[in-house]
Symmetry: C2
Subunit: 240 residues, 2 copies
DNA sequence: AAGTGGTCTAGACCACCAT
DNA sequence: TGGTGGTCTAGACCACTTA
């Protein structure tokens, strides 16, 4: 096979599987071969094969289902809500956000955006703005920044009336599976432009979330700044 | 032994170990018996014993060191900084906060505090206030709330000039090991009382962090509200 | 009934650390 | 050298799903 030595056997198997996942040989939603099959393919014991898969399951790249098989994870609404969406009501239960499209435009990377997307300052980017509501309260304005060369065929239409999540779009149309995010939060006085959309008074205190979305290869695929009105909602994180 | 059936064998072993950890039979910093010893004690195979320990290591309750043994984790400065302290400079690298003691007083639980600490409204609590600085900038005012009955012998002196972290105090003096935190963040206008301590103008936008610190038994040991000036620092979280 | 993942065994050998 | 955790094997059997 193709295990590329240098460390533990199961790490080699893991790399081989990750390669097949990131080059599209194994696609989201697909059933992968059974553990017994993979074990004989890679010529390792079933225990070693399971150990290789364990880590991928923990990172939620693969999903095991007893009796059915092991599947490549997809970015469905559930996954978004539970793992990537951290705004919850101060009282009550979490729900799905309603997304309103505001605009889609081409722009050039500022210093901050360039740094986060690991591209050159002034490189061409897409700038998409959405507005999010929860239970009919306007909660957030999201500004998304994408490298144009990575998402060359992207159009505004793909952001209007999406049935699925945006990460799902990246996954299905461009082959980028977001597996991890970094988030940096600050409290600031709201800019006028955002205040209008959020329907708050200018310079009201708002929360900004700067999120880098990172794919299986470790590359930052999207940088996003969310501007959040935390009057009735708040940011929630469970740590460790 | 004492494995208490009802599910997988390794879960029973895990429960037995957790019991020994939370009742003090195994103390922080201590070397626990070797895997081979524990396997024979619990009358399970070495593989099963390792699987039991795997989860505890992942939760950072135990620390494995190849060639040396497995140890009960302690709340040292490293652990605090890397896992429980989320304020970082907007540019530059993370560092240890300087903690200034402000006051220690007795109080009664408000609705919010009671709810978070899972005690009755009006129950007696301790309220401790500290001020945190990073690189000589004042960054945060922390208000800590503890149930008096849980920390009956606590004194102000224990908060003045501490060499170690506060979670270390809970662990060493009261036997509570914090293994997980929940955090809820909002942007608000700063209250006057906090504005003075933070040296910001009243009603400046500040970040509030409401943190519940949860121990091995799943109980909330401390509720804390941090009021943070995010002019030069920000809250950082790595997710998934 | 056949196929899948989940648990468990009873070892072997390797890598690392202390003495 | 002897003890520790880390990797790996070649199975067996259980629990769950689907046909």
């Amino acid at each position: 096979m193709n295990t590329i030595e240098g460390g533990p056997l199961y790490k080699g198997v893991q790399r081989a599987l990750l390669e097949q996942l990131s080059n599209g040989a194994l696609k989201p939603g697909q059933l992968i071969p059974s553990e017994r099959q993979l074990a004989t393919e890679f010529a390792v014991s079933i225990g070693t094969l399971r150990k290789a898969i364990d880590d991928l399951v923990e990172q939620r790249i693969l999903i095991r289902q007893q009796g059915k098989g092991t599947f490549v994870a997809t970015h469905d609404r559930e996954r978004l809500l539970f793992y990537f969406f951290h705004l919850v009501p101060q009282v009550g239960v979490k729900s799905y956000p309603l997304i309103e499209f505001v605009f889609f435009q081409k722009a050039l990377a500022t210093t901050e955006i360039a740094q986060r997307l690991q591209i050159a300052v002034g490189a061409p980017i897409f700038h998409i703005r959405n507005r999010l509501s929860l239970e009919s309260d306007i909660v957030s304005v999201d500004d998304l920044f994408l490298e144009q060369s990575r998402f060359a065929t992207l159009t505004a239409a793909q952001f209007r009336d999406r049935p699925n999540t945006i990460y799902n779009l990246y996954q299905e149309a461009f082959g980028y599976t977001v597996v991890k995010t970094d988030e940096r939060l600050r409290a600031v006085a709201c800019a006028e432009e955002h205040a209008k959309l959020l329907k708050v008074s200018p310079s009201a205190p708002v929360l900004t979330i700067r999120r880098s979305a990172i794919d299986m290869r470790g590359e930052t695929v999207e940088f996003r700044i969310s501007t959040v009105n935390t009057a009735s909602y708040e940011y929630f994180a469970e740590l460790l």
